[in-house]
Amino acid sequence: LGHGAGGRLSAELIAGVLVPALGSAADRGPLEDAALVRMDGTDLALSTDAYVVDPLFFPGGDIGALAVHGTVNDLAMRAAMPVALTLAYVVEEGLPLADLRRVTASAGAAAEAAGVPVVTGDTKVVGRGAADRLFVITAGLGRRLPGAAPSAAGARPGDAILLSGPLGCHGVTVLSTREGLGFEVDLASDTQPLHRLVGTMVAAGGDAVHALRDPTRGGLAASLNEIAVASGVGAEIDERALPVPEPVRAACEMLGLDPAYVANEGCLVAFVAPDRAEAVLTAMRARPEARDAVRIGTVVPDGPVVVRTAVGARRVLDMPLGEQLPRIC
């Protein structure tokens, strides 16, 4: 399996292997960050995720905080506020107990800050080599906010595309820390919970908030392509509007990476009806998580996702396969 980077390969894995094996129960329209479940007249959202990250600790966060934020954010992308989380560990024999304590403390603090209880958990220890130090598995239950039903298939031509914060910090920080490249001294992961931000956005925009996505693995490019495909639309992005912090830009240039494909853990991209976009953007900027929120582009009726570059060229921003492979002959 070479399907880790969150691009087309993981999409193919899901569509080709996982969904068919799970039968019709799994085949309910577009792939979303969290599933909706209706129970006793209440709209609930349910999400589960497994976290593997090397290194376990990095500037701005660790695997524990990441697991909590990731699941809270997956719920938030369906406009659901977290009600309860579960937390399970697969621990490789030999992991220092101090590390496990530190991860758990961090997860606890993150949950508390997010205002969501961790209601149950599990721990399994496996032999050396059967896991890589520590895997974290979470599940999250959320209650849907009234008045909004964002869905990956909800984007419409003319929608404004909004981005809540700077791109690339998480991916570059983790890569740089793991490989000892030195960029991490100027950088930190952006990992943070986004549900309160979403609450504000829904309050300001209501059902004009058509789609939400947190651009994690595969970065902004993957999120835009996923929404475009699920919604049957195209998108045009303005490169000059993309908030790429200088250290990220410099690191990406040196590493030969495109920041649009680098993972984030603390920002979201929103597709909002044009008449409410300004109101939603203003509401976003009032929150600390999205102080630098910007409009980055517009949904168009069809065609690929396109980036208009600083010099006016229109480059196709397609779904990455996985790693960024050179295409020049």
Partner: protein
């Protein structure tokens, strides 16, 4: 008693490029001159002549078909069969009918440069088309760029909106006239008109031309609506305006093509051998890459640092008039910015070129299809295409194995072309550029749709590259699933494109030297020796690998590639003098790249000949950054041409790894650094490294020939556009008793990939039984 009577009539079938080139009026003229009876018509892609009369006169007609054919015609096979009773008196040209649509693709002719007869009229004050920019006849003029649908008739072209005046109509209807059925025939009274727009000022007709020429003369950049798209034109002798064009077009270093009035003017700027002269003057009228003369009149920034210059002669009457009135060479380059497609629509051109051109010289004949200028170079005595577009596309090539179903081969990512294969032919679409540009991608899809519609060809099978992220691959994946979708390895397609052009029969050795292509093992290849057929291949040998630090970033910056070879290659370079590169390159960058290599961070390895030459170019101080694709290798070749004498090749070794012969370049690079430190010039070492690659290749091919008994070597891939390698390898392989073949009709670079894909897909379909 019955006497055996000699036949009174014959059926003559002519194959080749015989439609849209004035062939039927030509036959009419000759037959009428010989007092023969009969008729001539287009049938399928061929011309059918039914002729009656004295046998001797008929024999002279058939002789003339070859000897006096119009310049743009290419006569293939001529078959003569006896055919019943004598035709009625007189000789007629029969119009083509819809039912005559060919099974292949011959019905859509390429554009033809203005012919000698029209040129004479253009500059004859007494002629009614004196200085008329849209003059043409059956032997010349627009074709593919004006056609709406087939068969090719005026009412189905962009000329439909220009009703013929009585005089033009008479010429169009007169079989004896040079303009009989010249579909785009026009004159000042009835045809298209020039317009000039600059700021708020406008002018039309002759005045538009005068003002436009004056603007060029005072150092302005103007956009000219050419045959297959807008072109940007300026004075090639004015350094300031050439620099301004570079800034505005966002093209800092890539050389510009220069148009000159005639062969004499070309000879003032470059050395023109007979093969090059023929290419320059041919009806396809390509840009020809020529050895530049020192001290020519051109501004140095036209092709800085290069020993070659791309020249071409005027394509249309409009270009002739501009060159004539200005009396100096002109930069004529495609009307676009950087990687965008050439603009063809008036409004689109006005919008996109607004920031580049100071004025627009346009006209009211729409351009129906995008055809950039073609580029050829003369290597090993033949003109070979570097970019196949106007004048060549959408001409068809033969398929060695006929296609059982219609195939669309979608080509590569850069220098994209596509090929449409049906029955025994593959039609190659025009050069379309880098598909990562959204407009190029849209143009690719539109051109595919247009050519499929014109030929009523519904592709049933899609052939594509194995590279998962090529946008052409993505297109094929959207259109079809296996078995209707066929993946073709990049270098297999390269070598097959060459073999198929030559009609090679049976297995052959393929040498594919290029930048990068996706291998069938999921790794990057580019210095490959294959044992190949039209359906499959076996890898026999390769260059040793080295990492690309930063992937595409290493392609853009050969200095990174050099570090890849020094610190992360498959073979350790022996310790020696510190490469000068390490003094030039920022320490922080070196440290980071070494770390990336050590940790394998975004460092895909590749067995590439192109990347190896890039690294050598950087180690020799020739170029650390590529301003355009292949620049370092091009400058390395230019340096090698400057070398004095024949520098000794560098040491090399072939080793055996995983069942493959592998070129171990560590000794080569070690010696390169040693000899450089000892004072040998970069030019001499550039020549030495070319010689080394040639020696290694001959050794690899000789071993493969011994092992397999296969003695034909097809050489392809972008590196074969390097003249030293192409000629050197042909000569050396021939000297070693092998047959060496090079591409001619399709580029050795990625522009030839689509043809290779089409051939392979057709052969595999046939093999499926």
């Amino acid at each position: 008693m019955t006497a055996v009577r000699a036949p009174q009539a014959w059926s003559v079938r002519v194959r080749g490029t015989v439609q849209g080139v004035g062939f039927r009026p030509f036959v009419h003229r000759v037959a009428t001159g010989l007092r023969l009876d009969g008729e001539v018509r287009n049938v399928g892609g061929e011309v059918l002549i039914r002729v009656g009369g004295p046998e001797q006169a008929v024999a002279r007609l058939i002789e003339a078909l070859r000897a006096q054919a119009p310049a743009a015609a290419r006569i293939g096979e001529i078959t003569v069969t006896p055919d019943g009773a004598a035709p009625p008196p007189g000789f007629r040209v029969v119009a083509s009918a819809d039912t005559d649509l060919p099974q292949g693709f011959a019905g859509l002719p390429a554009d033809l440069a203005i012919c000698g007869d029209c040129l004479d009229e253009l500059f004859s004050p007494a002629d009614r088309r004196y200085r008329y920019p849209f003059i043409n006849c059956t032997a010349c003029g627009p074709r593919a760029t004006i056609i709406d649908s087939l068969p090719y008739d005026r009412q189905r072209t962009a000329m439909a909106g220009f009703p013929l005046c009585p005089r033009c109509a008479a010429e169009y209807r007169d079989p004896a006239d040079r303009r009989f059925h010249a579909e785009p025939v026009a004159c000042p009274a009835c045809g298209p008109r020039l317009t000039w727009r600059a700021g708020g000022r406008t002018a039309t007709g002759e005045q538009a031309l005068t003002v436009a020429a004056a603007a060029i003369a005072v150092g302005r950049i103007i956009a000219v609506k050419g045959l297959g798209g807008y072109q940007l034109v300026c004075d090639a002798t004015n350094a300031a305006v050439v620099d301004r064009l570079r800034r505005r077009k966002l093209r800092p270093r890539k050389p510009f093509a220069v148009m000159v009035a005639d062969l004499a003017a070309a000879r003032a700027l470059a050395r023109v051998d007979p093969a090059a002269a023929a290419a320059l003057g041919g009806p396809e009228r390509p840009i020809v890459l020529l050895p530049a003369r020192l001290g020519g009149a051109l501004a140095p920034s036209v092709a800085r640092g290069l020993d070659r210059i791309g020249l071409f002669l005027p394509t249309t009457a409009l270009h002739h008039l501009l060159l004539h009135d200005l009396g100096r060479p002109l930069v004529v380059t495609s009307g676009n910015r950087a990687d965008e497609p050439i603009a063809i629509d008036d409004a689109e051109a006005a919008d996109r070129l607004a920031g580049i051109a100071d004025g627009f010289l346009g006209h009211d004949r729409p351009i129906r299809a995008r055809y950039d200028d073609s580029v050829v170079q003369v290597v090993a005595g033949s003109a070979r295409l570097v970019r196949r577009a106007r004048g060549y596309a959408p001409g068809a090539l033969t398929l060695p194995v006929p296609a059982r179903k219609p195939i669309l081969a979608v080509g590569a990512q850069l220098k994209n072309t596509f090929a449409l294969a049906r029955a025994g032919q593959a039609l190659i679409g025009p050069h379309g550029g880098d598909l990562a540009d959204a407009d190029s991608l849209a143009a690719f899809e539109a051109t595919v749709a247009q050519l499929c519609r014109l030929h009523r060809c519904e592709p049933e099978v899609y052939a594509h590259d194995l590279h998962p992220d090529y946008l052409s691959t993505g297109y094929a994946q959207r259109m079809a699933t296996p078995p209707r979708r066929v993946g073709v390895q990049h270098h297999h397609a390269h070598v097959v494109s060459c073999a198929a052009e030559h009609g090679v029969d049976g297995p052959f050795l393929g040498v594919a030297y290029d930048g990068l292509g996706f291998g069938d093992d999921g790794r990057f290849w580019g210095g490959e020796l294959l044992l190949s057929t039209y359906t499959g291949f076996r890898r026999l040998g390769r260059f040793g690998t080295a990492p690309l630090p930063g992937g595409q970033a290493a392609v853009r910056r050969p200095a990174r590639m050099a570090l890849g070879y020094l610190y992360g290659g498959e073979f350790p370079v022996p310790p020696g003098p510190v490469p000068a590169l390490l003094h030039r390159m920022p320490a922080a960058e070196q440290a980071l790249i070494r770390r990336m290599i050590e940790r394998g961070v975004h460092c895909p390895p590749a067995s590439s000949a192109g990347r190896f030459l890039d690294a050598a170019a950087s180690l020799l101080g020739v170029r650390d950054d590529a301003g355009y694709e292949g620049e370092a290798a091009i400058l390395l070749e230019a340096a090698a041409h400057r070398a004095g004498g024949r520098p000794e090749p560098l040491p090399w070794r072939i080793t055996r790894i995983g069942g493959l012969w592998v070129y171990d370049w560590s000794g080569t690079l070690g010696a390169l650094l040693e000899r450089g430190a000892a004072g040998e010039s970069a030019d001499d070492l550039a020549a030495a490294i070319h010689r080394t690659v040639i020696e290694v290749t001959v050794a690899l091919c000789t071993r493969a020939a011994e092992r397999t008994g296969v003695r034909t070597v097809c050489l392809s891939g972008g590196c074969l556009q390097n003249r030293i390698l192409a000629t050197g390898l042909s000569d050396a392989l021939s000297a070693a008793g092998l047959t060496a073949l090079l591409n001619r009709q399709v580029p050795a670079g990625d522009g030839g990939i689509s043809y290779g894909q089409a051939v392979i897909a057709a052969a595999r379909l046939a093999g499926d039984g």
